[in-house]
């Protein structure tokens, strides 16, 4: 666990640093993918930074609207770096809207764009696992296995290491698949299905699961649903792009 990196008087938050490195490496990989697919990388970068900027502004605005009294007394808090003063759903909505408008204006195709960002998402998932390892979050359930690690007073499953390995395997699969001639959207859906499947399996070794109905891990239920949706959509996309598909003739009169 390395939650902070002390450089002189400066205490850098290691998890945040790892996530930033993940974004940088992920976008670099997305650029390589885009060049291979003869896509322009600039609009992809533009879209990312626009969504990120509007997401942040939207998240802060949404939080401020919901807590107007707090900002009335300390208006400077509006530019505070504290992530607590962000509303994730407001940020998500604002980022999505900004991305949609930008995509319409620049005539960016939706599904190929999702595919282009898939390598970035896969790299980011690895960075997230490492960030969890650095912060001690997403910790494992107690275990007596020899590879267990001491964390928060108990020998635990190294769930953050499992998470990082699973994300690395997903990146390997996604990168190999990206060389194939897949229908638009298929690469992204494969990534979603693999990631959800990984979470469904690995959540069983976590020690911080939120339980529903007494003993069911909520994250497993959500991961199963996401995996099922991704697999169904993947089937639909594959079927539609099948050259041997028989299209029913339209009946006249």
């Amino acid at each position: 666990m390395f939650p902070t990196l002390q450089i002189g008087p400066l205490a850098l938050q290691t998890p945040g640093l790892l996530l930033l490195i993940g974004v940088y490496l992920g976008l670099s990989l997305t650029e390589r993918y885009a060049l291979r697919c003869k896509m322009k990388a600039d609009p992809l970068y533009g879209l990312f930074f626009l969504v990120a900027a509007f997401g942040l502004i939207g998240a802060r605005l949404s939080f401020a609207v919901q807590n107007i009294a707090l900002f009335r007394s300390t208006p400077l808090a509006f530019i505070s770096l504290d992530p607590y003063l962000l509303d994730p759903w407001g940020g998500f909505a604002a980022g999505l809207l900004a991305g949609w408008v930008y995509g319409k204006r620049k005539k960016i195709a939706f599904l190929p764009t999702l595919d282009a960002y898939t390598p970035a998402l896969a790299v980011f998932a690895i960075a997230l696992g490492l960030a969890h390892l650095a912060s001690g979050h997403a910790f494992g359930a107690p275990t007596s296995l020899p590879w267990g690690m001491e964390l928060w007073g108990v020998r635990r499953h190294p769930s953050q290491v499992y998470e990082t390995i699973a994300a690395s395997a997903t990146l390997f699969i996604v990168w190999r698949q990206s060389r194939k001639n897949l229908p638009a959207g298929a690469l992204f859906l494969q990534f979603v299905a693999f990631s959800a499947g990984g979470r469904l399996f690995l959540e069983a070794f976590r020690g911080d699961s939120v339980l529903v109905f007494g003993t069911v891990r909520m994250a497993q239920g959500i991961a199963w649903l996401i995996m099922a949706c991704a697999m169904i959509l993947l089937e639909i996309i594959k079927e539609r792009s099948d050259p041997n598909r028989i299209v029913p003739k339209q009946m006249n009169g």
Partner: protein
């Protein structure tokens, strides 16, 4: 692979997923539920008993049922000093509703006199327990100053804020949310 066998395979996979959810149900004790004391979000706040600057003895577990901010600081740390006035303002506004501040001074890395002088200069009135031996700072795995732990009425750590200074609005929002849990 033919379409039908592939679909059977996918349905099988989904069925296996459901079976895994059932098989991997947590056994008692495998999920924290806040029972283990550890200095992390979701865990029971490790207990400590320290003497304050004004000679009182404060024990964290005695404050169960109240919202507690445990803030680790030192007088040589600029961000610690910068966030103190905001903590005082929030403390003044919410102490009547059950909000407690324990500004633990890392006295083993600081000095009692310097801490006292800083508090007097800035008219800070919240309790300042002195961690003379550094045991509490160590138990809370404080790696940089300031580090704050927000503890809910049930004694569970709800948030750990490493670094600072914390914005007043952010602290107010955090405290208000936790105070809503009080009966």
């Amino acid at each position: 692979m033919q379409p039908i066998p592939r679909r059977i395979f996918l349905f099988g996979l989904l069925f296996l997923g459901l079976a895994w959810i059932f098989i991997s149900r947590p056994t008692p004790g495998s999920v924290t539920n806040g029972l283990i004391p550890a200095p992390a979000t979701g865990f029971l706040a490790p207990d400590f008993e320290l003497e304050t600057l004004d000679g009182q003895v404060v024990k964290l577990s005695d404050l169960r049922g109240r919202v507690v901010l445990v803030n680790f600081w030192a007088s040589w740390c600029p961000p610690c000093k910068a966030e103190m006035p905001a903590i005082q303002l929030v403390y003044d506004d919410y102490r009547a509703r059950g909000f407690v501040v324990l500004a633990v001074n890392a006295t083993n890395q600081d000095s009692r006199e310097k801490a006292q002088a800083f508090l007097a200069e800035n008219h800070l009135s919240f309790p300042v327990p002195l961690d003379v031996l550094g045991e509490t700072t160590l138990r809370y795995k404080v790696s940089s100053f300031p580090t704050s732990f927000l503890i809910a009425p049930d004694g569970i750590i709800r948030e750990v804020v490493v670094g600072g200074p914390m914005a007043e609005a952010a602290l107010r929002a955090r405290v208000e949310k936790l105070l809503e849990e009080l009966p």
